[in-house]
């Protein structure tokens, strides 16, 4: 428990550093939200007036203090453009983002771990080579290209699945699932490749351990032996899966753009393109916090796989 409390508090300095870096990066980069809001036919006076109205003419340190003050009061701010609170924007995108993350990772784990174990168990055989060729291909081909191919094949030609859009779970399980199949398969290919390779490597290493040799010598069957092997190889796999979940929650811009899924990734990119400072700052900070939190969960999960670990 003390470890958990210590870890939670250690997040504070990390978040402060992230907040300062994010704030400086986006405010010092070229671009001006006032000019974008005003539009193509706005005069310099129009833009200057807008600057003042949005508080963008204040010194940078003052803008930071105002933002940090609001943040400490739990106010993430309001989008400069849409005037919609950032919390609302985030809430709108939470369901699609979590849905994609859960389905993608679920699919990846279900496919990748057995594939990796199989490849390790049959190391050097044609099965192993086939799995590795698939893993290399799935990892190397750009996500957007696979996305377009999936759209062309399953949406445009076969017309089995929609090209774009996200249907909320409240509209029914099948419509929801239907809208997620292509984006999740698209994303899962990358994670399947990654987890398969990781599983193969770690399981292969464990299979050469003395206790596995002993287990085999005692006449234990293939499945019980593999069960021991996978359990002992679980820590690096869990780390990879955890980092994958964090990345998925942080947003998967290309897939969200190709399939028009209103996730957090598109929210951030859109905000970056428009220099919507409150949205970028708050969402990136929350993404960083999520990342740190998931890492903490991964660390804690190690005890499940190896009771010898003590914090």
């Amino acid at each position: 428990m003390a470890y958990v409390i210590r870890r939670v508090f250690s997040v504070v300095p990390v978040m402060i550093v992230v907040a300062v870096i994010v704030f400086l990066l986006i405010h010092l980069s070229p671009g001006d939200p006032a000019a974008l809001i005003a539009g193509d036919f706005a005069t310099a006076d129009d833009i200057a007036r807008l600057h003042a109205a949005l508080g963008l003419d204040e010194p940078l340190w003052r803008q930071f203090v105002l933002w940090a003050g609001k943040l400490l009061r739990g106010d993430l701010g309001t989008s400069i453009f849409t005037q919609v609170p950032v919390t609302t924007l985030l809430a709108q995108r939470l369901e699609p983002t979590l849905s994609i993350a859960a389905l993608t990772m679920g699919l990846s784990i279900v496919v990748a771990i057995p594939l990796g174990v199989l490849a390790a168990y049959r190391a050097g055989s044609w099965v192993d080579r086939l799995v590795m060729v698939f893993a290399v291909l799935a990892f190397s081909v750009p996500v957007f290209l696979v996305g377009y191919l999936l759209i062309y094949g399953f949406a445009v030609q076969l017309q089995w699945l929609p090209v774009q859009g996200y249907t909320r779970l409240s509209s029914g399980v099948w419509p929801w699932l239907r809208s997620l199949i292509l984006p999740c398969v698209n994303l899962a290919l990358v994670y399947i490749a990654l987890i398969t390779r990781m599983t193969r490597a770690t399981v292969l290493e464990v299979l050469h351990e003395d206790y596995i040799r002993t287990a085999r010598a005692k006449g234990l069957g293939v499945l019980p032996v593999l069960e021991h092997a996978v359990r002992n190889a679980a820590i690096p796999i869990a780390t990879t899966v955890g980092v994958g979940i964090a990345l998925l929650i942080g947003g998967v811009v290309v897939t969200e753009t190709v399939f028009a899924i209103p996730g957090i990734g598109r929210l951030v990119i859109d905000a970056v393109q428009h220099h919507d400072y409150p949205v970028i700052q708050s969402v990136l900070l929350i993404s960083a916090a999520t990342y740190v939190f998931i890492n903490l969960l991964i660390d804690l999960s190690y005890r499940l796989f190896d009771p010898r670990i003590r914090y």
Binding site: P30, G31, A35, D40, T43, P175
Partner: protein, 526 residues
Amino acid sequence: MKKRLLASLAAISMTAACALCPGAAMAETKTLRLVPHADLKVLDPTFTTAYITRNFGYMVYDTLFAMDEKGQPQPEMVRDYKVSDDKKVWTFTLRDGLKFSDGNPVTAADCVASLQRWTARDNIGHALSAAGGKWQAVDASTFTLTLERPFGPVLDGLAKVSSYPAFILPARLAKMPADRPLTEVVGSGPFLFKRDEWVPGNKVVFVRNPDYKPRSEPASGLAGSKAPHVDRVEWVILPDSNSAVAALKNQEVDMIEQTPADYIEPLRKESGIAIGVMGRNQAYMVLNQAFPPFDNAKIRQAAAHAIDQAKFVSAMGYPPDLRLDHCDTFFICGGPNETAAGSAPYAKPDIALARKLLAEGGYQGQKVVVMLPSDPVYLNAATLVAIQALQDIGMTLDIQAMDWATMTARRSKKAAPDQGGWNVFVSSASEFNVNSPLNNTYLAASCGNTLPGWPCDKELDALRAQWIAAVDPAGRKALLDRFQERAYQVFPNVPVGQFSLTFAALKSLKHTDRIWGVPNVWVLDK
């Protein structure tokens, strides 16, 4: 017995299958799904000149006058109007029964407050103020415009299509401070905005406004009846063109508002898809006249002599039938103010003359900063052609690539080009933003608060004022010619080509031939 059992099973299966169909409960609702050209960010059409917000305005607000498909202003919310013999007093009376979406009637006081807000922002509004224009409510349905001097384009101003249309909103909102965009949307237009379904970056939803009171005349352009044929309109934001086209082919959307140029020909070959013209656009090269070398008219003339419009529109990727190889006017070829006055020397590029003018203008090879946008693609292509043209006449260029957002911010900076400023950029505008000396704000040369490029020419500005004040058609035409002749001498900007923006729609969508200038979706039916 067996047959009956099978029939019952089939009926149950079909019911179960239908329960899984999205939108089964709304089978009777006609929904039009349109991919707009951009995401809706700002909801206040008198706050930003962004076209997407203007289009949003046309969905939810109404205007006193509107342009018909011939480009003529027609009464819309106004029942009748009269003008005094000296053309200084205009009296307008509203139609009966007009109602805002909050249930309140539209009154003359609402119109006056809305017009005051519009006057403060719009360039025609500014010109009206300069002519001493004052709006005043007479009774609940009548209001007046009193001028100190005659003002030619009063009705054109009230029917203005673009940046900024004179939308009418409740007085309580129109009187809100203009330094922040309005977030409450209360209009009397054909649709209601469904804020609860709005997901910025993803979807904007409108439903038919039950309180909208259409005119009896049929729809024409933006005028006439705007009674919608569909119950619901969804703007589906699809930032990826490839996905948008695939969604159209898959019939998940009914229409793409702006077809990327390189998709036009492939889509023309699709049997179920029609390509139509949304409106004409003019591309132009803006030269910063606040700093050398383009503070010298001879250097600007030299740049204009380097321009071959055919190369620009071709590079942008528009098929031959959607582009003009050359257009003589600053005011849109085929538009109401087309004129060739002053254009003859620039009908064809003349590199030798351009080099001579550069020398006469004292250009000695100093670096010219060209802002090259990486997006949108067609402006990237047009800027690359401009770069080649300027290099061909011997200019030394400092080409700085940047994204559109950065360029938008940078072009408003008046700093010297070597200190974060710029010399040249290329942009484009809808015909409604360039089709008259008043609408074409990049031609405004009033030596003060003008658009980037900051042109300054008192003669051109005086001619503009005279054109605005002129009320007889012959006098206006003569002044228009003189205005353009002067523009061809001082070049507040350099037109580089005219092309048509196209939409792509399912052939099953009806009346797409009546789309005019902006997505006037109330004419469409499924």
